[in-house]
Symmetry: C2
Subunit: 274 residues, 2 copies
Protein backbone atom coordinates (compact mmCIF):
# COMPACT_ATOMS: atom_id res chain seq x y z
CA UNK A 1 0.00 0.00 0.00
CA UNK A 2 1.46 3.27 -1.11
CA UNK A 3 1.11 6.51 0.77
CA UNK A 4 0.96 8.20 -2.62
CA UNK A 5 -2.50 7.96 -4.07
CA UNK A 6 -5.19 10.10 -5.53
CA UNK A 7 -6.60 12.64 -3.11
CA UNK A 8 -9.71 11.52 -1.37
CA UNK A 9 -9.33 7.90 -2.33
CA UNK A 10 -8.85 5.17 0.23
CA UNK A 11 -6.82 2.30 -1.15
CA UNK A 12 -8.83 -0.57 -2.57
CA UNK A 13 -8.99 -3.60 -0.39
CA UNK A 14 -8.03 -1.87 2.83
CA UNK A 15 -9.49 -4.06 5.51
CA UNK A 16 -8.30 -2.04 8.48
CA UNK A 17 -10.44 0.26 10.52
CA UNK A 18 -9.83 3.76 11.79
CA UNK A 19 -11.18 5.08 15.05
CA UNK A 20 -10.94 8.86 15.04
CA UNK A 21 -11.71 10.39 18.46
CA UNK A 22 -12.45 14.07 19.11
CA UNK A 23 -10.50 14.18 22.38
CA UNK A 24 -11.33 13.74 26.08
CA UNK A 25 -12.80 10.26 25.59
CA UNK A 26 -14.12 8.83 28.82
CA UNK A 27 -11.98 6.26 30.61
CA UNK A 28 -14.47 5.45 33.34
CA UNK A 29 -16.03 2.04 33.81
CA UNK A 30 -19.46 3.62 33.44
CA UNK A 31 -18.57 5.03 30.01
CA UNK A 32 -15.72 3.51 28.09
CA UNK A 33 -17.75 3.01 24.90
CA UNK A 34 -15.11 4.28 22.55
CA UNK A 35 -11.98 2.69 24.03
CA UNK A 36 -13.81 -0.59 24.63
CA UNK A 37 -14.88 -0.63 20.98
CA UNK A 38 -11.25 -0.13 20.00
CA UNK A 39 -10.08 -3.02 22.20
CA UNK A 40 -12.84 -5.29 20.91
CA UNK A 41 -12.16 -4.50 17.24
CA UNK A 42 -8.45 -5.15 17.77
CA UNK A 43 -9.19 -8.64 19.09
CA UNK A 44 -10.48 -8.26 22.64
CA UNK A 45 -8.78 -10.83 24.86
CA UNK A 46 -6.29 -11.58 22.06
CA UNK A 47 -5.62 -7.93 21.13
CA UNK A 48 -2.02 -6.75 21.01
CA UNK A 49 -2.10 -2.97 21.39
CA UNK A 50 0.64 -0.41 20.88
CA UNK A 51 0.33 3.07 22.44
CA UNK A 52 2.20 5.91 20.71
CA UNK A 53 2.38 9.12 22.76
CA UNK A 54 4.58 11.06 20.35
CA UNK A 55 2.17 14.03 20.33
CA UNK A 56 2.42 14.46 24.08
CA UNK A 57 4.94 16.48 26.05
CA UNK A 58 4.75 13.89 28.85
CA UNK A 59 4.72 10.65 26.87
CA UNK A 60 5.45 8.44 29.89
CA UNK A 61 2.32 9.65 31.69
CA UNK A 62 0.12 9.15 28.65
CA UNK A 63 1.59 5.70 27.96
CA UNK A 64 0.90 4.59 31.54
CA UNK A 65 -2.60 6.05 31.45
CA UNK A 66 -3.66 4.19 28.31
CA UNK A 67 -1.81 0.98 29.23
CA UNK A 68 -3.85 0.87 32.44
CA UNK A 69 -7.13 1.52 30.58
CA UNK A 70 -6.48 -1.14 27.96
CA UNK A 71 -5.28 -3.70 30.51
CA UNK A 72 -8.46 -3.00 32.45
CA UNK A 73 -10.39 -3.85 29.28
CA UNK A 74 -8.75 -7.30 29.28
CA UNK A 75 -6.57 -7.15 26.18
CA UNK A 76 -3.71 -9.64 25.79
CA UNK A 77 -1.04 -6.97 25.52
CA UNK A 78 -0.79 -3.16 25.70
CA UNK A 79 2.71 -1.75 25.25
CA UNK A 80 4.08 1.71 24.62
CA UNK A 81 6.20 2.47 21.59
CA UNK A 82 8.29 5.54 22.39
CA UNK A 83 8.89 7.54 19.21
CA UNK A 84 10.45 10.87 20.14
CA UNK A 85 13.03 11.07 17.37
CA UNK A 86 13.10 10.11 13.73
CA UNK A 87 15.77 7.47 14.29
CA UNK A 88 13.34 5.69 16.58
CA UNK A 89 10.61 5.94 13.92
CA UNK A 90 13.03 4.40 11.41
CA UNK A 91 14.24 1.63 13.75
CA UNK A 92 13.80 -2.12 13.39
CA UNK A 93 12.27 -2.06 16.86
CA UNK A 94 9.45 0.24 15.77
CA UNK A 95 8.73 -1.77 12.64
CA UNK A 96 8.68 -5.02 14.61
CA UNK A 97 6.33 -3.58 17.25
CA UNK A 98 3.92 -2.33 14.59
CA UNK A 99 4.12 -5.60 12.64
CA UNK A 100 3.09 -7.45 15.80
CA UNK A 101 0.23 -5.10 16.76
CA UNK A 102 -3.45 -5.73 16.07
CA UNK A 103 -4.31 -2.19 17.23
CA UNK A 104 -2.35 1.07 17.48
CA UNK A 105 -3.44 4.05 19.57
CA UNK A 106 -2.14 7.62 19.15
CA UNK A 107 -2.61 9.93 22.15
CA UNK A 108 -3.34 13.67 22.01
CA UNK A 109 -0.93 16.57 22.19
CA UNK A 110 0.53 18.39 19.20
CA UNK A 111 -0.19 16.92 15.79
CA UNK A 112 2.92 18.54 14.33
CA UNK A 113 5.06 16.37 16.61
CA UNK A 114 3.53 13.29 14.99
CA UNK A 115 4.22 14.41 11.44
CA UNK A 116 7.73 15.68 12.15
CA UNK A 117 8.77 12.49 13.95
CA UNK A 118 6.84 9.87 11.94
CA UNK A 119 6.17 11.45 8.53
CA UNK A 120 7.69 9.32 5.77
CA UNK A 121 9.49 7.06 8.28
CA UNK A 122 9.51 3.26 8.25
CA UNK A 123 6.96 3.41 11.08
CA UNK A 124 4.67 5.52 8.85
CA UNK A 125 5.02 3.11 5.92
CA UNK A 126 4.48 0.13 8.20
CA UNK A 127 1.33 1.65 9.67
CA UNK A 128 -0.13 2.24 6.19
CA UNK A 129 0.76 -1.29 5.11
CA UNK A 130 -0.63 -2.86 8.28
CA UNK A 131 -3.82 -0.81 7.95
CA UNK A 132 -4.41 -2.42 4.57
CA UNK A 133 -3.96 -5.82 6.22
CA UNK A 134 -6.55 -5.26 8.95
CA UNK A 135 -4.91 -3.19 11.68
CA UNK A 136 -7.20 -1.06 13.82
CA UNK A 137 -5.71 2.42 14.06
CA UNK A 138 -7.08 4.78 16.70
CA UNK A 139 -6.18 8.31 17.71
CA UNK A 140 -7.59 10.99 19.97
CA UNK A 141 -7.35 14.77 19.62
CA UNK A 142 -3.99 15.42 17.90
CA UNK A 143 -3.88 11.68 17.21
CA UNK A 144 -7.18 12.14 15.34
CA UNK A 145 -6.32 15.37 13.51
CA UNK A 146 -3.16 13.81 12.05
CA UNK A 147 -5.14 11.03 10.34
CA UNK A 148 -6.58 13.41 7.76
CA UNK A 149 -5.10 14.45 4.44
CA UNK A 150 -5.09 18.08 5.57
CA UNK A 151 -4.82 18.99 9.23
CA UNK A 152 -5.24 22.25 11.10
CA UNK A 153 -1.99 23.22 12.79
CA UNK A 154 -3.24 26.26 14.65
CA UNK A 155 -5.97 28.84 14.53
CA UNK A 156 -8.21 30.73 16.90
CA UNK A 157 -11.17 28.58 17.90
CA UNK A 158 -13.61 31.29 16.86
CA UNK A 159 -11.60 32.46 13.86
CA UNK A 160 -13.80 34.48 11.54
CA UNK A 161 -11.18 34.63 8.83
CA UNK A 162 -8.63 32.41 7.17
CA UNK A 163 -5.78 34.61 8.36
CA UNK A 164 -5.26 32.76 11.64
CA UNK A 165 -5.85 29.24 10.34
CA UNK A 166 -2.70 27.34 9.40
CA UNK A 167 -2.94 23.94 7.78
CA UNK A 168 -0.62 21.27 6.47
CA UNK A 169 -0.64 17.74 5.17
CA UNK A 170 -1.69 15.09 7.66
CA UNK A 171 -0.53 11.45 7.73
CA UNK A 172 -3.35 10.62 5.31
CA UNK A 173 -4.69 7.49 6.91
CA UNK A 174 -8.08 8.95 5.98
CA UNK A 175 -7.68 10.83 2.69
CA UNK A 176 -10.07 13.51 1.48
CA UNK A 177 -10.96 14.87 4.90
CA UNK A 178 -9.96 17.65 7.23
CA UNK A 179 -10.62 16.84 10.89
CA UNK A 180 -11.10 19.28 13.75
CA UNK A 181 -11.56 17.99 17.29
CA UNK A 182 -12.95 19.26 20.64
CA UNK A 183 -15.43 20.70 18.16
CA UNK A 184 -18.54 21.82 20.04
CA UNK A 185 -16.67 22.30 23.31
CA UNK A 186 -14.29 24.86 21.84
CA UNK A 187 -16.77 26.41 19.38
CA UNK A 188 -14.64 25.62 16.35
CA UNK A 189 -17.16 25.87 13.52
CA UNK A 190 -15.69 29.05 12.12
CA UNK A 191 -12.19 27.64 12.26
CA UNK A 192 -13.31 24.56 10.31
CA UNK A 193 -15.32 26.65 7.84
CA UNK A 194 -12.31 28.90 7.27
CA UNK A 195 -10.16 25.87 6.45
CA UNK A 196 -12.83 24.38 4.16
CA UNK A 197 -13.28 27.74 2.40
CA UNK A 198 -9.63 27.45 1.36
CA UNK A 199 -9.78 23.73 0.54
CA UNK A 200 -13.36 22.85 -0.42
CA UNK A 201 -12.23 19.57 -1.98
CA UNK A 202 -11.68 18.27 1.56
CA UNK A 203 -14.67 17.08 3.57
CA UNK A 204 -14.70 18.88 6.94
CA UNK A 205 -15.29 16.71 10.00
CA UNK A 206 -15.76 18.37 13.39
CA UNK A 207 -15.66 15.74 16.13
CA UNK A 208 -16.89 16.56 19.65
CA UNK A 209 -15.16 15.39 22.79
CA UNK A 210 -15.87 11.83 23.95
CA UNK A 211 -17.13 11.17 20.42
CA UNK A 212 -15.56 9.24 17.55
CA UNK A 213 -16.02 8.03 14.03
CA UNK A 214 -15.30 4.41 13.19
CA UNK A 215 -14.22 4.27 9.55
CA UNK A 216 -14.68 0.98 7.71
CA UNK A 217 -14.20 1.27 3.96
CA UNK A 218 -16.27 4.19 2.70
CA UNK A 219 -18.54 4.14 5.73
CA UNK A 220 -18.19 5.76 9.06
CA UNK A 221 -20.31 5.25 12.16
CA UNK A 222 -20.56 7.78 14.97
CA UNK A 223 -19.80 6.55 18.52
CA UNK A 224 -19.90 8.27 21.89
CA UNK A 225 -21.67 11.06 23.69
CA UNK A 226 -21.51 14.01 21.29
CA UNK A 227 -21.91 14.63 17.59
CA UNK A 228 -19.91 14.76 14.42
CA UNK A 229 -20.48 17.85 12.27
CA UNK A 230 -19.86 17.28 8.57
CA UNK A 231 -19.14 20.27 6.30
CA UNK A 232 -19.37 19.58 2.57
CA UNK A 233 -18.52 22.57 0.39
CA UNK A 234 -18.31 20.52 -2.79
CA UNK A 235 -21.44 22.06 -4.25
CA UNK A 236 -20.87 25.53 -2.80
CA UNK A 237 -21.96 28.19 -5.27
CA UNK A 238 -19.57 30.91 -4.12
CA UNK A 239 -16.50 30.94 -1.92
CA UNK A 240 -14.17 33.71 -0.83
CA UNK A 241 -11.14 32.87 1.28
CA UNK A 242 -8.82 35.86 1.62
CA UNK A 243 -5.51 34.95 3.26
CA UNK A 244 -3.63 38.18 2.67
CA UNK A 245 -5.63 40.25 5.11
CA UNK A 246 -7.94 39.58 7.99
CA UNK A 247 -11.13 39.78 5.93
CA UNK A 248 -13.94 37.33 6.60
CA UNK A 249 -14.66 34.33 4.43
CA UNK A 250 -17.75 33.81 2.29
CA UNK A 251 -19.29 30.39 1.73
CA UNK A 252 -22.60 29.99 -0.08
CA UNK A 253 -24.46 26.71 -0.37
CA UNK A 254 -22.56 24.44 1.97
CA UNK A 255 -24.14 21.18 3.14
CA UNK A 256 -24.01 20.55 6.88
CA UNK A 257 -24.87 17.40 8.82
CA UNK A 258 -24.87 16.88 12.57
CA UNK A 259 -24.61 13.18 13.37
CA UNK A 260 -24.87 11.64 16.85
CA UNK A 261 -24.09 8.08 17.92
CA UNK A 262 -25.51 5.36 15.68
CA UNK A 263 -25.60 7.50 12.52
CA UNK A 264 -23.63 6.39 9.48
CA UNK A 265 -22.09 8.50 6.73
CA UNK A 266 -21.02 7.44 3.24
CA UNK A 267 -17.66 9.07 2.51
CA UNK A 268 -17.81 8.21 -1.19
CA UNK A 269 -21.31 9.58 -1.76
CA UNK A 270 -20.77 12.32 0.80
CA UNK A 271 -24.13 11.83 2.48
CA UNK A 272 -25.64 10.32 5.62
CA UNK A 273 -26.80 6.75 5.08
CA UNK A 274 -30.49 5.96 5.56
CA UNK B 1 -50.40 46.54 10.41
CA UNK B 2 -51.26 43.63 12.63
CA UNK B 3 -48.79 41.79 14.79
CA UNK B 4 -50.80 38.66 14.00
CA UNK B 5 -49.82 37.28 10.65
CA UNK B 6 -48.76 34.10 9.02
CA UNK B 7 -45.46 32.76 10.26
CA UNK B 8 -42.51 33.78 8.18
CA UNK B 9 -44.37 36.45 6.29
CA UNK B 10 -43.41 40.10 6.48
CA UNK B 11 -46.40 42.34 6.00
CA UNK B 12 -46.96 43.55 2.47
CA UNK B 13 -45.99 47.10 1.83
CA UNK B 14 -43.74 47.46 4.83
CA UNK B 15 -41.37 50.23 3.87
CA UNK B 16 -39.36 50.27 7.09
CA UNK B 17 -35.93 48.79 7.50
CA UNK B 18 -34.47 46.62 10.20
CA UNK B 19 -30.85 46.77 11.29
CA UNK B 20 -30.06 43.65 13.31
CA UNK B 21 -26.64 43.83 14.99
CA UNK B 22 -24.78 40.89 16.52
CA UNK B 23 -23.48 42.87 19.51
CA UNK B 24 -20.32 44.82 20.33
CA UNK B 25 -20.65 47.12 17.32
CA UNK B 26 -17.77 49.54 17.07
CA UNK B 27 -18.36 53.11 18.24
CA UNK B 28 -15.00 54.48 17.21
CA UNK B 29 -14.55 57.17 14.60
CA UNK B 30 -12.34 54.81 12.61
CA UNK B 31 -15.10 52.20 12.40
CA UNK B 32 -18.67 53.24 12.97
CA UNK B 33 -19.95 51.60 9.76
CA UNK B 34 -23.02 50.09 11.33
CA UNK B 35 -24.21 52.92 13.56
CA UNK B 36 -23.46 55.48 10.87
CA UNK B 37 -25.57 53.50 8.42
CA UNK B 38 -28.40 53.52 10.96
CA UNK B 39 -28.18 57.29 11.42
CA UNK B 40 -28.04 57.86 7.67
CA UNK B 41 -31.01 55.61 6.93
CA UNK B 42 -33.04 57.34 9.63
CA UNK B 43 -32.47 60.72 7.97
CA UNK B 44 -28.92 61.80 8.76
CA UNK B 45 -28.93 65.44 9.81
CA UNK B 46 -32.72 65.35 10.06
CA UNK B 47 -32.93 62.01 11.91
CA UNK B 48 -34.93 61.86 15.13
CA UNK B 49 -33.64 58.86 17.08
CA UNK B 50 -35.04 57.14 20.15
CA UNK B 51 -32.82 54.92 22.30
CA UNK B 52 -34.54 52.17 24.30
CA UNK B 53 -32.31 50.50 26.91
CA UNK B 54 -34.97 48.26 28.43
CA UNK B 55 -32.78 45.16 28.04
CA UNK B 56 -30.00 46.68 30.12
CA UNK B 57 -29.53 46.57 33.88
CA UNK B 58 -27.96 50.05 33.74
CA UNK B 59 -30.24 51.80 31.26
CA UNK B 60 -28.99 55.31 32.10
CA UNK B 61 -25.41 54.36 31.14
CA UNK B 62 -26.50 52.76 27.88
CA UNK B 63 -28.75 55.69 27.00
CA UNK B 64 -25.93 58.18 27.53
CA UNK B 65 -23.51 56.03 25.58
CA UNK B 66 -25.69 55.82 22.48
CA UNK B 67 -26.92 59.41 22.73
CA UNK B 68 -23.28 60.53 22.58
CA UNK B 69 -22.53 58.28 19.60
CA UNK B 70 -25.56 59.40 17.61
CA UNK B 71 -25.02 63.08 18.42
CA UNK B 72 -21.44 62.63 17.24
CA UNK B 73 -22.87 61.32 13.96
CA UNK B 74 -24.74 64.62 13.53
CA UNK B 75 -28.37 63.57 13.84
CA UNK B 76 -31.03 66.18 14.63
CA UNK B 77 -32.18 64.47 17.80
CA UNK B 78 -31.25 61.42 19.91
CA UNK B 79 -33.36 60.93 23.02
CA UNK B 80 -33.79 58.06 25.44
CA UNK B 81 -37.17 56.48 26.04
CA UNK B 82 -37.08 54.83 29.44
CA UNK B 83 -39.33 51.75 29.45
CA UNK B 84 -38.75 49.80 32.66
CA UNK B 85 -42.35 48.93 33.44
CA UNK B 86 -45.39 48.01 31.40
CA UNK B 87 -47.25 51.17 32.38
CA UNK B 88 -44.48 53.13 30.72
CA UNK B 89 -44.77 50.97 27.60
CA UNK B 90 -48.51 51.66 27.55
CA UNK B 91 -48.18 55.41 28.16
CA UNK B 92 -49.13 58.28 25.86
CA UNK B 93 -45.58 59.51 26.30
CA UNK B 94 -44.10 56.33 24.80
CA UNK B 95 -46.52 56.34 21.88
CA UNK B 96 -45.81 60.01 21.16
CA UNK B 97 -42.05 59.49 21.28
CA UNK B 98 -42.26 56.55 18.86
CA UNK B 99 -44.66 58.41 16.56
CA UNK B 100 -42.14 61.23 16.30
CA UNK B 101 -39.08 59.01 15.73
CA UNK B 102 -37.52 58.26 12.35
CA UNK B 103 -35.23 55.65 13.93
CA UNK B 104 -35.41 53.52 17.10
CA UNK B 105 -32.44 51.75 18.65
CA UNK B 106 -32.65 48.88 21.17
CA UNK B 107 -29.53 48.28 23.28
CA UNK B 108 -28.26 44.90 24.50
CA UNK B 109 -28.86 43.15 27.79
CA UNK B 110 -31.53 40.54 28.43
CA UNK B 111 -34.03 39.96 25.63
CA UNK B 112 -36.61 38.68 28.10
CA UNK B 113 -36.75 42.13 29.69
CA UNK B 114 -37.80 43.54 26.30
CA UNK B 115 -40.62 41.06 25.78
CA UNK B 116 -41.91 41.22 29.36
CA UNK B 117 -41.98 45.02 29.40
CA UNK B 118 -42.97 45.76 25.79
CA UNK B 119 -44.73 42.63 24.51
CA UNK B 120 -48.28 43.47 23.41
CA UNK B 121 -48.05 47.02 24.77
CA UNK B 122 -49.02 50.18 22.94
CA UNK B 123 -45.31 50.80 22.35
CA UNK B 124 -45.08 47.37 20.66
CA UNK B 125 -48.08 48.06 18.43
CA UNK B 126 -46.80 51.54 17.62
CA UNK B 127 -43.39 50.18 16.64
CA UNK B 128 -44.97 47.64 14.27
CA UNK B 129 -47.21 50.31 12.74
CA UNK B 130 -44.36 52.79 12.38
CA UNK B 131 -42.16 50.12 10.81
CA UNK B 132 -44.75 49.68 8.07
CA UNK B 133 -44.63 53.44 7.50
CA UNK B 134 -40.88 53.64 7.05
CA UNK B 135 -39.30 53.65 10.51
CA UNK B 136 -35.75 52.32 10.77
CA UNK B 137 -35.60 49.88 13.69
CA UNK B 138 -32.18 48.83 14.98
CA UNK B 139 -31.09 46.60 17.82
CA UNK B 140 -27.86 45.09 19.08
CA UNK B 141 -27.33 41.81 20.94
CA UNK B 142 -30.51 41.27 23.00
CA UNK B 143 -32.02 44.10 20.96
CA UNK B 144 -31.30 41.99 17.87
CA UNK B 145 -32.40 38.62 19.25
CA UNK B 146 -35.82 40.00 20.21
CA UNK B 147 -36.58 41.02 16.61
CA UNK B 148 -37.06 37.39 15.54
CA UNK B 149 -40.20 35.31 15.67
CA UNK B 150 -38.44 32.81 17.93
CA UNK B 151 -35.63 33.87 20.22
CA UNK B 152 -33.15 31.95 22.31
CA UNK B 153 -33.62 32.78 25.99
CA UNK B 154 -30.70 30.82 27.35
CA UNK B 155 -28.46 27.91 26.50
CA UNK B 156 -24.83 26.93 26.79
CA UNK B 157 -22.81 28.46 23.97
CA UNK B 158 -21.43 25.07 22.99
CA UNK B 159 -24.62 23.14 23.72
CA UNK B 160 -24.51 19.78 22.00
CA UNK B 161 -28.10 19.00 22.85
CA UNK B 162 -31.47 20.68 22.93
CA UNK B 163 -31.77 20.14 26.68
CA UNK B 164 -30.08 23.41 27.64
CA UNK B 165 -31.58 25.57 24.91
CA UNK B 166 -34.69 27.50 25.93
CA UNK B 167 -36.61 29.49 23.37
CA UNK B 168 -39.68 31.68 23.25
CA UNK B 169 -41.54 34.01 20.92
CA UNK B 170 -39.70 37.18 19.97
CA UNK B 171 -41.26 40.55 19.10
CA UNK B 172 -41.56 39.37 15.49
CA UNK B 173 -40.33 42.43 13.69
CA UNK B 174 -38.59 39.90 11.44
CA UNK B 175 -40.83 36.83 11.17
CA UNK B 176 -39.62 33.40 10.14
CA UNK B 177 -36.16 33.69 11.66
CA UNK B 178 -34.33 32.75 14.81
CA UNK B 179 -31.39 35.03 15.55
CA UNK B 180 -28.33 34.26 17.66
CA UNK B 181 -25.71 36.95 18.27
CA UNK B 182 -22.03 37.14 19.35
CA UNK B 183 -22.01 34.12 17.06
CA UNK B 184 -18.43 33.31 16.11
CA UNK B 185 -16.99 34.96 19.21
CA UNK B 186 -18.90 32.69 21.59
CA UNK B 187 -18.84 29.59 19.37
CA UNK B 188 -22.62 29.32 19.23
CA UNK B 189 -23.14 27.10 16.18
CA UNK B 190 -24.29 24.14 18.21
CA UNK B 191 -26.67 26.25 20.22
CA UNK B 192 -28.23 27.61 17.02
CA UNK B 193 -28.34 24.16 15.42
CA UNK B 194 -30.04 22.75 18.52
CA UNK B 195 -32.73 25.43 18.30
CA UNK B 196 -33.19 24.90 14.54
CA UNK B 197 -33.40 21.12 15.04
CA UNK B 198 -36.48 21.76 17.18
CA UNK B 199 -37.94 24.45 14.88
CA UNK B 200 -36.69 23.82 11.34
CA UNK B 201 -39.37 26.10 9.89
CA UNK B 202 -37.39 29.05 11.27
CA UNK B 203 -34.33 30.26 9.36
CA UNK B 204 -31.34 30.38 11.71
CA UNK B 205 -29.24 33.55 11.58
CA UNK B 206 -25.98 33.68 13.56
CA UNK B 207 -24.65 37.24 13.57
CA UNK B 208 -21.05 37.93 14.63
CA UNK B 209 -20.04 40.87 16.77
CA UNK B 210 -19.61 44.24 15.02
CA UNK B 211 -21.68 42.77 12.18
CA UNK B 212 -25.27 43.39 11.14
CA UNK B 213 -27.94 42.58 8.63
CA UNK B 214 -29.92 45.39 7.04
CA UNK B 215 -33.34 44.02 6.16
CA UNK B 216 -35.28 45.76 3.40
CA UNK B 217 -38.33 43.82 2.22
CA UNK B 218 -37.25 40.23 1.51
CA UNK B 219 -33.62 41.18 1.12
CA UNK B 220 -30.92 41.53 3.67
CA UNK B 221 -27.43 42.91 3.21
CA UNK B 222 -24.53 42.11 5.52
CA UNK B 223 -22.63 45.03 7.08
CA UNK B 224 -19.60 45.20 9.36
CA UNK B 225 -16.47 43.30 10.19
CA UNK B 226 -17.63 39.70 10.66
CA UNK B 227 -20.02 37.30 9.00
CA UNK B 228 -23.60 36.14 9.15
CA UNK B 229 -24.07 32.38 9.26
CA UNK B 230 -27.38 31.22 7.79
CA UNK B 231 -28.75 27.79 8.77
CA UNK B 232 -31.59 26.50 6.58
CA UNK B 233 -33.00 23.16 7.72
CA UNK B 234 -36.03 23.39 5.44
CA UNK B 235 -34.82 20.60 3.18
CA UNK B 236 -33.22 18.53 5.96
CA UNK B 237 -33.73 14.82 5.31
CA UNK B 238 -33.64 13.71 8.95
CA UNK B 239 -33.87 15.54 12.25
CA UNK B 240 -33.77 14.33 15.84
CA UNK B 241 -34.26 16.82 18.64
CA UNK B 242 -34.65 15.06 21.98
CA UNK B 243 -35.68 17.44 24.74
CA UNK B 244 -36.44 14.92 27.48
CA UNK B 245 -32.86 13.88 28.09
CA UNK B 246 -29.46 15.25 27.31
CA UNK B 247 -29.03 13.29 24.09
CA UNK B 248 -27.43 14.96 21.09
CA UNK B 249 -29.38 16.24 18.13
CA UNK B 250 -29.22 14.86 14.59
CA UNK B 251 -29.56 17.06 11.53
CA UNK B 252 -28.99 15.69 8.03
CA UNK B 253 -28.90 17.82 4.91
CA UNK B 254 -28.88 21.33 6.29
CA UNK B 255 -27.85 24.24 4.05
CA UNK B 256 -25.28 26.61 5.50
CA UNK B 257 -24.10 29.97 4.19
CA UNK B 258 -21.41 32.24 5.62
CA UNK B 259 -21.91 35.78 4.37
CA UNK B 260 -19.53 38.68 5.00
CA UNK B 261 -20.10 42.39 4.33
CA UNK B 262 -21.58 43.21 0.95
CA UNK B 263 -23.37 39.89 0.50
CA UNK B 264 -27.12 39.83 0.08
CA UNK B 265 -29.60 37.12 1.02
CA UNK B 266 -33.14 36.58 -0.24
CA UNK B 267 -35.33 35.70 2.76
CA UNK B 268 -38.25 34.60 0.57
CA UNK B 269 -36.18 32.29 -1.65
CA UNK B 270 -33.90 31.38 1.24
CA UNK B 271 -30.71 31.76 -0.78
CA UNK B 272 -27.82 34.17 -1.25
CA UNK B 273 -28.41 36.61 -4.10
CA UNK B 274 -26.01 36.58 -7.03
Amino acid sequence: MSVHRRRGQRPDGSSGKLLVIGGAESHSEEDDTILERFATLAGGATARLVVIATASESPADREKEYQAVFEGLGVAEAVPLRLEHRDQANSDHAVAALERATGVFFTGGDQLRITTVLGGSRADLTLHARLAEGLVLAGTSAGAAMMSSTMILSGQDAAVSTASVRTGPGMEFLPGVLIDMHFAERGRLNRLLSAIAMFPHELGLGIDENTAILVDGDDFEVLGAGSVTVIDAGLATAIRAPIENDGPIALCGVQLHVLPAGYHFDLAERRPRD
